[in-house]
Subunit: 327 residues, 2 copies
């Protein structure tokens, strides 16, 4: 018997989940749910595309619903709503609002008897797990998270809102000297500017003032003013050829001391180099969908995060296989 997964929202992450399900023989895609006209959504897998208004009809035909909405406005509504009908998974990533989101999902899930696991992917997600494990093992230490090299959707959007900009992509790039300082065990205090560079590739509208736009980007508060920002103007052809991929990644490090006199240094480093951010995120969500299915089958209800999931639940392999081959 396979685990029947639903996807709500067929964008980049939805497609990443669809392709990840293909790699997991114990799972199958049951249906894709959309707010658009279902006839307009062409999936790669031959499954029903269902309008979200009819999602309740699938209550008994989907074991885990993976929600692929955005964190700003979709998920705060969707996750508590759909956990009334389904076990759900989301990738809610507005760090500051996680406690509130958790509470809302937990309340709805306990009422419905379903299980929701939130904030999955790689950050939050795998990076969070690495921060937790490393902090628990080396309590006398310091954490560092670096992102990139990769595209920040939020920063790219901010540039596209500048008048005269036709299209733009922004790469967040960790500064190697800062990474090396952390790896040295010196526990540096690093400013925002010392950790990351922001490099922008911008296509201008006809007749736009490049110098003025460059200045507007570089001085944009919150997004760019605190960073060393590089602005490259390129034509549309080069933009499409070289900046259409969705790579990302980053580093989580912990530098900690042990010994009666804190005389020994330890460095834990975790890094991801991802060709496709949405496909990796989708792959992580699919593994947690398996965990969600199993934990719900045990009778667990309420809200969970990656912190609450015993790792063995994520794997398609049997516990005895895991002990024999992976321990």
């Amino acid at each position: 018997m396979t685990i029947k997964v639903g996807i709500l929202g067929y964008g980049n992450i939805g497609r990443g989940i669809e392709s990840a399900i293909k790699q997991n023989a114990d799972m199958e895609l049951a249906a894709v749910f959309t707010r658009r006209d279902p006839a307009s959504v062409v999936t790669k897998t031959d499954v029903p595309v269902v309008h979200v208004d009819d999602i309740a009809d699938w209550k008994d035909k989907v074991d885990v619903m993976i929600l692929c909405g955005g964190s700003a406005t979709d998920l705060p509504v969707q996750t508590p709503e759909y956990v009334k009908m389904f076990n759900v998974i989301d990738s809610f990533d507005t760090h500051a609002r996680i406690p509130e989101h958790f509470a809302n999902v937990d309340k709805a899930a306990k009422e419905s008897g379903k299980l929701g696991i939130i904030s999955l992917g790689w950050d939050p997600g795998m990076f969070s797990l690495l921060r937790l494990y490393s902090d628990a093992i080396l309590p006398n230490g310091k954490d560092y998270t670096f992102w990139g090299k990769g595209i920040s959707q939020g920063h790219s959007d901010a540039i596209r809102r500048v008048k005269g900009v036709k299209d733009a992509k922004q790469y967040t790039i960790p500064i190697e000297a800062a990474l090396d300082a952390v790896r040295s065990g010196s526990n540096p205090e690093l400013s925002t500017r010392e950790k990351h560079i922001r490099e922008c590739f911008v296509v201008l509208e006809e007749g736009a003032d490049a110098a003025a736009i460059e200045n507007e980007i570089k001085t944009m508060p919150n997004y760019f003013a605190d960073y060393d920002t590089i602005v490259n103007f390129i034509d549309e052809e080069e933009f499409k050829a070289n900046h259409s991929a969705m790579p990302h990644g980053g580093f989580v490090l912990r530098s900690g001391k042990t010994g009666f006199d804190n005389e020994h240094d330890h460095i834990i480093e975790y890094s991801l180099k991802l060709d496709s951010n949405p496909e990796f995120t989708g792959s992580a969500m699919v593994a947690f969908a398996r965990a969600c299915y199993r934990m719900a089958a045990e009778g667990q209800t309420g809200c969970r995060t990656a912190f609450d999931v015993a790792p063995a639940y994520l794997s398609a392999k049997l516990p005895e296989e895991l002990r024999e081959h992976m321990l």
Copy 2:
């Protein structure tokens, strides 16, 4: 209320655990248990040193007993034996015998109603966790584990058994070119010789034949014959000055593909650089002792591994703190 921890076996790992407990305010060392004459054991912390024959007297005074014996002969006997009286933690690391050890501990623990978590530390332990998480997220991929640079106790012992050798340390060194090949995403097939170098520092007995000993080391089956091995002869003074520390570390990598046509590559890399192998191992065991205490308090019994422990159990922080600050 603090978690009362016992240490059985006061060697390098035992001392590592003792110093780790000092860094965790929710834990206290209750006593050290030894097979030696307790009067001969001088601990850093002012706690009772108790002969192992009297360990049963501590049944109600120790929440978790951390077993620091060796995997060859101590733990196969000790872990099933002491889980009859205590919740226990061990660092059993004979990979091939883990299934058998698990079964023995599980049976004894279920009979006694106690909980045992086995094979903790960094490999097995954190490296195992990283292999599991990475395999679950990227099922279409390949795992690589590299060890070092660090001292292999087993290989150092093997050299010390050679006639004419007074003392020896052996460093396992990962080969950078092999690491880089894995990082490139090319999924190389790597032979034993291509992954690690073995470098030995040897102090000779008076009048020993250096050339013969070098040859005996380099051709030793299982230990050195399959590797490029470097043998350095040094005097005792240099040996003590430069080779008394216990550094170790290593790398776990997974290279995997996603996408409908497997068109995207991903690299997950986890690495440890440890000044003190026993102190890091002890620190990891202490975090799992916290988990063991909590899981036992919930009524869990039997045997577990790191794979069965939800990460939040390891942390001294409250679940809401973890969600707010680490997710």
